[in-house]
């Protein structure tokens, strides 16, 4: 029963995490967005649990809901999700003991997103190594339940609320994602990529460039990368 206690401890830690509030705002907005773009409630809930990554869910919802091509969506999701790989890799040494089996790590890997990655590094060192997988599963469960309730609420609120409030709900998505991106930007490359992406994408969309999101992402990201490298080589 050690596992169950560790799982509950993880849930409590999740309920106290600052990410709970961020998730609440983000998924309220994503639920409202899915509603307004015509997705079913079931689709929205399945997407939340299966994807479990805010940026990917925003990309698939907004691009599938508008007119993007399937190739463009798949490439945009692939590129945006690469950041999950180093997160899983850096959490693994904290989770794995000599007794841990591979299949026990599949759920923690699925639950890995920026929330678990940041909080895991902070909290796991204080948890006994044998309890860490159960702790992480509990933590992820608390956040997933929050996100499911939030996305459900956002979906219904977009349908029932008066227009003024429903538009404020939809506005949560661009605001919360933009601030989170800015907060997570450490390098000059990240900061420039954010600013250039915000500026170049509308220009490409305005001129109806095909695969606009993809090209603007590659262009803005690559420009930002070279600016960062030039500054580094000069330093």
């Amino acid at each position: 029963m050690v596992d169950r206690r560790a799982f509950l401890g993880g849930m409590r830690a999740g309920a106290k995490s600052v990410f709970l509030w961020l998730l609440l705002g983000t998924y309220l907005g994503l639920g409202a967005l899915a509603h307004d773009l015509g997705f079913s409630l079931t689709w929205t809930l399945v997407a939340t649990v299966l994807i479990w990554a805010g940026p990917t869910q925003l990309i698939i919802t907004s691009m599938l809901g508008t007119s993007a091509t399937t190739v463009e969506i798949a490439i945009a999701v692939t590129l945006s999700a690469v950041r999950l790989l180093p997160m899983v890799v850096s959490l693994l040494p904290l989770l794995r003991t000599p007794q841990t089996r591979f299949r026990q790590l599949i759920l923690p890997a699925h639950l890995t997103a920026v929330s678990l990655w940041v909080e895991g590094q902070r909290l796991l060192p204080d948890i006994a190594p044998a309890n860490r997988v159960a702790f992480v599963n509990g933590f992820g469960a608390a956040l997933t339940i929050t996100a499911v309730v939030a996305v459900l609420s956002g979906y219904f609120m977009a349908r029932e609320l008066p227009t003024a409030l429903a538009s404020a709900l939809l506005f949560l998505t661009p605001l919360s994602f933009m601030m989170s991106l800015a907060r997570n930007s450490r390098h000059l490359a990240d900061k420039l990529a954010l600013v250039l992406g915000l500026l170049i994408a509308p220009v490409m969309a305005f001129y109806k460039v095909e695969l606009d999101i993809l090209w603007s992402g590659l262009l803005a990201g690559t420009l930002a990368f070279f600016a960062w490298r030039m500054r580094r080589s000069r330093a």
Binding site: L22, A32, L33, H35, D36, L37, W43, L50, I51, T56, L58, I59, I60, S62, G65, T70, A74, L79, S80, A81, V82, L85, V88, V89, L92, F102, L105, A109, H110, T112, A164, S167, A168, L170, F171, L172, T173, P174, L175, M179, L181, A182, R183, S185, H187, L192, A193, L194, P202, M204, A205, I213, S216, G217, L218, A220, G221, T222, A224, F225
Partner: protein
């Protein structure tokens, strides 16, 4: 048959275009034996492109607003994002303050515009 496929199409798209290209990186993370240097040029470039893609999606939601958000005039939407971001920076990068001020700006602007 085609009706059933019509119902399933969004789920097929979700799994093929959303779930798989997303989850594969978590799975790779499990089987990669060695650590990855967060400072390597490739990782920095990928992160920059990922950030810019998301920035582009955000910008398009603000400019070509979906659903009821389209009822709020464009200048007010853009203005509210700028005000919210200013508040975020002024409040030492507090996401909560930035989102709250941006929302207040949007609602005030929409109300004033009638």
């Amino acid at each position: 048959m085609s009706a059933a496929f019509g119902d399933l199409a969004p789920y097929l798209a979700l799994v093929l275009l959303g779930f798989l290209p997303n989850e594969i990186w978590r799975f790779f993370g499990l089987i990669v034996a060695h650590g990855i240097d967060e400072r390597s040029d490739t990782i920095v470039w990928v992160r920059a492109v990922a950030t810019a893609i998301l920035a582009g999606v955000i910008a398009k939601i603000v400019l070509f607003a979906p659903g009821t958000l389209a009822d709020v005039p464009l200048t007010i939407r853009v203005g509210a994002v700028i005000i919210g971001f200013g508040a975020f920076l002024a409040a030492r990068r507090s996401v909560f303050v930035g989102v709250a001020v941006g929302e207040i700006a949007l609602m005030t602007g929409a109300w004033a515009a009638g």
